[in-house]
Symmetry: C2
Subunit: 142 residues, 2 copies
């Protein structure tokens, strides 16, 4: 039962646009359960797809289970069962030895930029890249 | 995207106890989502385990997707994320060329006997075994 420890920040759009960055991965995802005690996410990442289950957040830790599923199943689940799916492009940005994931949202959330860092422990220190602004509060449906 | 067509009946306890039957399979299961538009079930069946997703019922048909998961994951999901799991023993009973699945519930639902038949089409005819009494109405959490 792996634990996930993450920190999220908003990213300044103007600085982001000036940044030299890799191509990113297209993501489409939605939730079969948004109950914070047992979320179930369907995600398409490029040509792969996954079911991800997460338990309740304790501090900034969460239990997480992930299973690969066929891409066609994920498309059918999102099309037929989940009215509100989200599309975004995910970039991996390296800064001072850390790998940040930055999500650039499309569709209804166009323009929103969220940077996430996974940590090994809740006390671990890290440096913020320029352009990383305020803390971002998790919304279950994202 | 397979479709599931099923009919459910209650079974008379006295007649059931007199029936000669196979040993059955122990099942433990619970739901990560009980929303009828997108249920997500975790099930342990003997030494195997599965995640099963079902869509909205249309008539007596339902879209269904099923994925095997490790038994240890299923136990952790049921123990940590799902407060109300259900235990039952499932028997397969043959009657006039049909395979009925009969669930004998344990725990809080001890004594409840539900027989289920899967059909190829919604119009298909079938014979009821003796002891199969009234129609059983599905409850999402079962």
């Amino acid at each position: 039962m792996p634990k996930e420890i993450e920190r999220k920040f908003l990213v300044d759009k103007t600085l982001w646009q000036q940044l030299e960055k890799p191509q990113g991965t297209y993501l489409r995802q939605g939730y079969l359960s948004t109950d914070p005690a047992r979320t179930v996410r369907v995600r398409i990442a490029g040509e792969r797809a996954y079911l991800t289950i997460k338990g309740k957040t304790t501090g900034i830790s969460r239990s997480e289970w992930e299973y690969p599923i066929p891409l066609a199943d994920a498309r059918a689940l999102l099309d037929e069962l989940i009215p509100a799916s989200i599309e975004k492009r995910r970039y991996v940005i390296e800064f001072e030895g850390r790998h940040w994931e930055v999500d650039a949202f499309e569709g209804a959330n166009q323009g929103l930029l969220v940077a996430e860092l996974e940590l090994q422990s809740e006390e671990e220190a890290f440096a913020l890249p320029p352009g990383w602004t305020g803390r971002y509060q998790r919304m279950p449906a994202m």
